[in-house]
Symmetry: C2
Subunit: 392 residues, 2 copies
C-alpha cells in the first residue's frame, strides 16, 4: 500500500524534472532515485518519449552488444525565442531547450519608437531566424523578452519605465501572443543578464549579483537560486543609492549624490571634462583608458570605489558568492573592478567576503539574450507547462 | 489518455499542498482546481484522512440534512517544537500544525554556557511542555531552532558565530535528534523573527524585511516568499555597513563607522553619556524616552536616521513592501521609526517606496518563537516529509 501510494504521487512531471538537467540516466537509476517501481518508470519514460521531450542516449560504455538504455532531455524537441531589447539596440535569438543558440541577430533599435514598432521588428526577426534554423512557429515552446525598465513579472507589463515612452503597462505577452502563440515571459534587462551570466559562467552558483554599469547602473540579483524581483519589480535598482562623496552632485532623478550621477559612463565623462579631458560619453572613456590616459584611469578607479561603497551594503544584505560586473563600462577592464574590490574587501565583514568573487562579466554582450532564453526554457520545462502538454 | 496521465501526475502530495492552507474545500472543489476525476480525489482524500493529516470540517451552511463534506488540514494531527535561543534568554514552545501555541516557557539562559547545557535545558523544557499539552515525543513532526549567529542552514550548524563560544560547527540536529527523533531545522534568530512577523501580521506579503535593533543590529529578509540566507548564511548582517556620519567611531568588529557602533542600544547609551546623560545600556535609553527625556529622544531619532541610511540601500536592492522594526530598542515607539522613515522616504526612489510600509514589529517578543514554529511546520507539511510519511 505504502509504495503504491508513493508511486502514484510521483508522476510524469516529477520524472521529467529529474531528467531535464540533460544528464543521461538508466531506468534502474531513475527507479533508485525515485523509489518508484521499474515498471512505473518504464511507463513514464515511454510517455515522455512519445511527447518527444526525452530521448534515448547512446551510452559511452557501449561495447557493441545491446546498447545501454540511457535517457535524457531531448534539447531539440522544441525551441525558444529570446529577445534582449535595450535602449538603442536589440538582440533576438532562437535557442534549443539546452540553451544552445541556433540563430541570432543584433541590430540598432530605438526603444522610444514605442511598443508596436519595436515588437513588430522583434517578431519579424524571430520568424526569420526560425526559418533560418529550419523550425516553425509551432516549435516555439516559450518566448523570453528583456526590456530596459521595471516590469510586473506576473503580467509582463512594464511599469512606469523611465526611458521607455509609450510602454507603460503595455501588455507585451498579449500583443506578442496574438502573432506567435506561445507563453511570453517579460523581465527587466538586468535581471535577464544575471540569469545569462549564471548560465554561462556560474551554473552551480545559487547567489549571484550582476551589476550593469553603462549609461545607467543597475543590478540583477539571484539568491537561493531565485531571481529577486521585489514587490514592484524594481529590486536591484541600485543606481540611486547615495554615495558619501557625492552630496553636491545633482542626479537626473531629482535627488543628490546618487551612484548613477557619479559612476555611470556619462558621469565619468563629465568628471573628465571638468578636468579638461575631452570625453563626450562612456565610449570615449573606454577609448581613453585603452590609450592609457592616466586621468581616465583614475576617474574609472574612483567610479569603481563608488560602486563598491553601494555594493558593500548589498554584500552584507545578500551575502552573494559572485558579483559579476558587466555593461559597456566593464570593457575598461581591471580598473573598474579594482576600485570595487578595494572598497568591498575593506568594508564588508570577513564572513561575507571570505568566498566572494568579484569578477568581470564573462557572458558580456551575450548575457541578456542568454538570460532571455533561460527565462523561456525555465518556463517551457516547468511542471505547469508539462501538465498542459500532457493534458493537451 | 491525456487526462489519465495528468491524474497520475497529481498525487496525494499535490492534493495535500492544496489543502494545507487550512481552507475547507469539498471534493467537487478539489476536482475542479486540480482537473482530476472525482473518484481519484475521493481516494486521495481518504488516504490523507487515514494519515490523520486531513479531517472533515462541518460546513457553516449545514441545514440539518446530510452534512456538506468539506475537508481541511487537521492542525492537531501532530505538533512541532519551537525554540528561540537568544544571547541571554530562551523561549520554547509547542505549537500545532496551524501555528497555534499550545504551551510556552521563557527563561534566562546564557548562550555562552555552550551547546550541551543550553540544548539540554531546551530539550527538557520541550518534553515538559509536551506533557503539559497532553502530547508525546511521537507526536512531534519537526523541531525549529533559532540561534543568535550565522547558521549553515543545510546542516544546521552555527558557523563562526561571534557571540556563541563553543558552538562553532556544532551539529545541533544530530545532538537534538539523538534525544528526540524528529527533523531539526536551525536558523539565525533574526531570520526566524522575519518568518514569525510575517506569519503574525503580514501573511500575504511576499517581500518583508525584519530589522532587529537591540545590542546588535541585524535583518531577516523574505523576498518572493522565500527567506534569504546567502552563500554563507550571513545574509541580512547589516550591522557593519558604514554610515556616513560615523567615520570616526570605532566598532568592535575592527572597522570604523559601522551602523551597529552608532545606532544599537549600547551605542545610543554611549552617545548620551558623552552628553552627560546617565544611561548604562539600551534599557536605560528606553526608560529615559518613556520619561520624555529630550536628549534621549533626539539620540534615538538620529539612530533611526542612521538605520534609515542603510535601509535605503536595502530598499533599492530588495524592493520590499514591508519593513518591520523589532528588537528591544523598538520599544521606544515612534521615535526610532520616525528617523528611519525620514531618511528612507527622502532618499529611496518613488517606485520603491510608493507602497512601502515601515512599521513597528507586531509580533514583538513572540516573533522568534512564532518563526521557529513556522520553520518546523513548513518542513513538516512539505512534499518531502509527506512522501516519507506515506511510504513509511
Amino acid at each position: 500500500m505504502g509504495v503504491e501510494a508513493n508511486s502514484a504521487g510521483i508522476g510524469v512531471t516529477e520524472l521529467f524534472q529529474m531528467l531535464r538537467d540533460g544528464v543521461p540516466r538508466t531506468r534502474a537509476e531513475l527507479a533508485k532515485s525515485t523509489g518508484m517501481a521499474r515498471s512505473t518508470i518504464a511507463m513514464r519514460v515511454d510517455e515522455l518519449m512519445r511527447l518527444g521531450l526525452v530521448a534515448p542516449v547512446a551510452g559511452a560504455a557501449s561495447t557493441g552488444g545491446r546498447p545501454p538504455s540511457q535517457f535524457a532531455l531531448n534539447p531539440g524537441a522544441r525551441v525558444v525565442i529570446a529577445a534582449d531589447i535595450g535602449a538603442s539596440h536589440a538582440t533576438v535569438a532562437v535557442s534549443d531547450l539546452g540553451g544552445t543558440i541556433l540563430a541570432e541577430r543584433i541590430a540598432p533599435l530605438d526603444i522610444t519608437l514605442g511598443p508596436v514598432p519595436v515588437l513588430t521588428w522583434t517578431l519579424e526577426t524571430a520568424l526569420a531566424l526560425l526559418a533560418e534554423s529550419g523550425r516553425t512557429a509551432a516549435d516555439v515552446a516559450a518566448i523570453g523578452v528583456g526590456v530596459p525598465g521595471p516590469v510586473e513579472f506576473s503580467s509582463g507589463r512594464p511599469i512606469n519605465p523611465p526611458i521607455m515612452p509609450g510602454w507603460d503597462r503595455f501588455d507585451i505577452p498579449a500583443w506578442v501572443g496574438q502573432h506567435l502563440p506561445a507563453p511570453v515571459l517579460v523581465d527587466n534587462d538586468v535581471n535577464i543578464m544575471a540569469l545569462g551570466e549564471r548560465s554561462a559562467a556560474w551554473p552551480s552558483t545559487e547567489h549571484l549579483m550582476f551589476v550593469k554599469v553603462a549609461t545607467g547602473i543597475g543590478a540583477g540579483v539571484i539568491s537561493g537560486g531565485q531571481l529577486l524581483r521585489g514587490a514592484e519589480g524594481v529590486a536591484g535598482d541600485i543606481g540611486h543609492v547615495r554615495v558619501a562623496r557625492g552630496s553636491d552632485v545633482q542626479c537626473a532623478c531629482g535627488n543628490r549624490g546618487c551612484l548613477e550621477a557619479l559612476a555611470s559612463g556619462p558621469a565619468i565623462a563629465r568628471a573628465l571634462r571638468a578636468q579638461g579631458v575631452e570625453a563626450a560619453d562612456g565610449n570615449d572613456v573606454v577609448d581613453l583608458i585603452k590609450r592609457g590616459n592616466i586621468d581616465a584611469i583614475q576617474a574609472v578607479r574612483q567610479a569603481g570605489r563608488d560602486i563598491g561603497e553601494v555594493l558593500t551594503a548589498c554584500v552584507s544584505l545578500m551575502n552573494p558568492s559572485v558579483i559579476a560586473i558587466g555593461g559597456s563600462m566593464a570593457r575598461v577592464g581591471e580598473h573598474l573592478i579594482a576600485g570595487v574590490r578595494e572598497v568591498v574587501y575593506t568594508r564588508s565583514t570577513p564572513l561575507a567576503t571570505e568566498h566572494l568573487s568579484i569578477v568581470q562579466s564573462w557572458a558580456a554582450e551575450d548575457a541578456g539574450v542568454r538570460g532571455a532564453s533561460m527565462l523561456a526554457i525555465e518556463h517551457a520545462l516547468s511542471p505547469a507547462a508539462l501538465h498542459m502538454l500532457v493534458a493537451g
